[in-house]
């Protein structure tokens, strides 16, 4: 009796397995879609990049356009660390390299490995922020009581949207010792 249904059954089972695989494929698919469309607000995490000073037009853009970049820090799950940005905010010219840093201190009596996760708002400017050097590129291990000053060097592409005057760059520190 199953011979009657076999061709259809094979197709339906294939569809089932395809959709199961598709659900896992959604993860890389989302990343590709978001990169291609520039949506979703995730920054370019590729490194190393090379920086060359570049301005959108030869003259008229340089003096008049400044973007306020706010630096915001977060500690996930009340991680007992000191985490401070060197600057709360900076006036940045799109195209120029900006240098800043963060101060981290392990207040516990255990060695802890941290990962800083960046996030940016508004999402539309994410693709214009390029990082030359960022402590978020990798994990950092801090011994009990150890403190570090971690670098951040970035620039905003000259194509940065004209109607955005203020943006926020956020770092959240996660404890990844167990991960």
């Amino acid at each position: 009796m199953t011979n009657l249904h076999k061709p259809l059954l094979i197709k339906l089972l294939a569809l089932t397995f395809f959709m199961f695989a598709f659900s896992f494929a959604l993860i890389p698919l989302y990343n590709v879609f978001c990169k291609v469309t520039g949506l979703n607000g995730k920054m370019d995490e590729r490194h190393p990049l090379t920086y060359t000073p570049r301005y959108k037009t030869a003259n008229s853009d340089i003096p008049s356009r400044l973007v306020t970049v706010e630096f915001v820090v977060n500690l996930n799950q009340q991680l007992p660390f000191l985490f401070q940005a060197e600057h709360t905010a900076l006036q940045v010219i799109p195209g120029e390299l900006t240098i800043s840093s963060y101060y981290v201190k392990n207040l516990t009596n255990k060695k802890i490995i941290i990962q800083a996760i960046p996030s940016i708002s508004p999402g539309i400017v994410a693709k214009y922020l390029k990082k030359l050097e960022c402590f978020c590129f990798g994990k950092q291990a801090l011994k009990p009581g150890e403190e570090m000053r971690l670098p951040l060097r970035f620039w905003l592409e000259p194509e940065f949207p004209h109607d955005v005057h203020r943006m926020t760059l956020s770092y959240t520190l996660f404890d990844v010792t167990e991960l």
């Binding site: 009796m1 397995f17 199961f20 990962q115 959240t172």
Partner: protein, 529 residues
């Protein structure tokens, strides 16, 4: 293989009646028995999920924490949702599909009767696992039926892993059932029954079955990712490892939105059977009903992010999902118009199935309107995660899906049992249910608009009045369903003899069979005109 040869083999295997005793029900491969099993299972789950709802409404009767710790309240709301969706509504429709589809298309049974048995018996195991989490040490799942990460992954209790396994079993059951239904409908129709001659109930189930195969594996995928994040060190939804909690929502709702259409399309099919019968008039616009149902199913894949408008998706995304969500109103409206046009200038009578169908038309449409309001993104910022949403989905699920199942049971119970149910009792059940359901859910619109969030066990004083009204409606509605239980049992055990064609205006192959139909019907294919 030809239809005749197929019949030959089934005929040889089952030349006797049903087995006796408990083994009949454990080993049956008969679509009528399995339909009965699904329906009783669904009813039990409806009562269990309903009991949880009664506990929730009891806690919410007054401000203050009267009965439950907030953590346990979250377990109640989670389990209520899971049990109603996966235990009551979905198995209820599958039970109706099992009973009716073979008879409606003139087939002797489902395409794969033994897989059919397994599809059913997976469910009691799945729900023993799920309900068992209440009795395990530590909390039962308490993160809402939607199980957002990281609440369910990093912060989920130990029982979450059992919840995940339970979902896998339910998914397996649904997928196998859907495969069975598609194979049955596509391959076992009696000669002469072309696709466009099928009853609409069969059409809506064909489309629902494809939706099930498309999205239940996605649910399986997302809960597997949860399992991996919880136990195998992955970071699908954990920002620390480079993942994203919002990704959970995207994948979950890619399943979740078609899921709600899975829960309503069979009800649409039932309405398309009942309304023409009691209007004594053919369904208006058969072809457009088929196209409208198909469009709804296709569009349902494109709207998932309307559950996520406040997560921070970009403007372009919000506009797209708003437009496509609004678009679904068009084919849905077409269906409503077609049902009303069927009734218009018919010769109407209002036996219990038709009462439930009429209530469906009004109340499901109201649920549709609140859905349209929710689609407007700026307004959704005020509605999202409030009781306005709770009102919306309960209107489309209770007077929508549940009334569909109840209407179908009244409609076909005389056929199944050979006895007429008591029309007086049926009407009492209807009026109690229809009125109390509005007392229960209508005030929730106001609560949401006034600012009451979802999933809270205690609330500010300005929400007290409507909560009290809703709870009273809930208690009456809950109690009324025991009347329904009584009516069903009473009808099974006896009553006025039902003719083959129970309803004057009924058309379709199932009405050519006796009431009750033989254990094996259509061993020889019927003539279809």
């Amino acid at each position: 293989m030809s239809y005749a040869t197929h019949l030959q083999s089934t005929h040889d295997e089952h030349a006797h009646g049903p087995a006796h005793g408990i083994t009949r029900w454990i080993f049956t491969t008969n679509h009528k028995d399995i339909g009965t099993l699904y329906l009783w299972f669904s009813f039990s789950m409806f009562l269990i999920g309903g009991a949880m709802a009664m506990l929730i409404r009891a806690e919410l009767f007054k401000p203050g924490l009267q009965f439950f710790e907030p953590g346990f309240f979250n377990q109640l709301t989670t389990m209520h949702g899971l049990i109603m969706i996966f235990g009551a509504v979905m198995p209820g429709f599958v039970g109706l599909a099992n009973w009716m589809i073979p008879m409606m298309i003139g087939a002797p049974d489902m395409a794969l009767p033994r897989m059919n048995n397994w599809s059913f018996w997976l469910l009691p195991f799945a729900f023993t696992l799920l309900l068992g989490t209440i009795f395990m040490k530590g909390p039962a799942p308490d993160f809402g039926w939607t199980a957002y990460a990281p609440l369910s992954t990093i912060y989920g209790p130990k029982s979450t892993d059992f919840f995940i396994f339970s979902i896998h079993l339910m998914g397996l059951s649904s997928i196998m059932g859907a495969i069975n239904i598609i194979a049955t409908i596509l391959n076992l129709r009696a000669p002469g029954m072309t696709l466009m001659k099928m009853p609409i109930f069969v059409w809506t189930w064909l489309i629902t079955a494809f939706l099930l195969i498309a999205v239940m594996p996605v649910l399986a995928g997302v809960v597997t990712m949860m399992l991996m994040d919880r136990n195998f060190g992955t970071s699908f939804f954990n920002a620390a490892g480079g993942g994203d909690p919002v990704l959970y929502q995207h994948v979950f709702w890619f399943f979740g939105h078609p899921e709600v259409y899975i829960m309503i399309l069979p009800s649409f099919g039932i309405m398309s059977e009942i309304i023409p019968t009691f209007s004594r008039k053919k369904l208006f616009g058969y072809t457009s009903m088929v196209y409208a149902t198909s469009s709804i199913a296709l569009l349902s894949f494109l709207v998932w992010a309307h559950h996520m408008f406040t997560t921070g998706i970009p403007l372009v995304g919000e506009i797209f999902f708003m437009f496509v969500t609004m678009l679904i109103a068009v084919p849905t409206g077409v269906k409503i118009f077609n049902w009303v046009a069927t009734m218009f200038r018919g010769a109407l009578s209002f036996e219990t199935p038709m009462l439930f169908a009429t209530a469906f038309l009004v109340l499901f449409t109201m649920g549709g309107f609140s859905g349209l309001m929710l689609a407007m993104v700026p307004a959704d910022y005020q509605y999202h995660d409030t009781y306005f949403v709770v009102a919306h989905f309960h209107y489309v699920l209770v007077p929508g899906a549940i009334f569909g199942i109840i209407a179908a049971i009244y409609y076909w119970l005389p056929k199944w049992t050979g006895h007429l149910y008591s029309e007086t009792l049926g009407k009492i059940h209807f009026w109690l249910s229809a009125i109390s359901i509005n007392v229960l859910f209508f005030p929730m619109h106001f609560l949401g608009l006034a600012g009451m969030p979802r999933r809270i066990p205690d609330y500010a004083l300005e929400f007290a009045d409507f909560n009290r009204i809703a709870s009273i409606g809930g208690f009456v509605f809950g109690a009324s369903q025991f009347l329904f239980l009584y009516i069903v049992i009473k009808t099974i055990r006896g009553g006025e003899k039902a003719p083959d064609k129970v309803w004057e205006g009924a058309h379709g192959l199932e009405w050519t069979l006796s009431s009750p139909p033989p254990y094996h019907s259509f061993s020889a294919p019927p003539k279809v005109h």
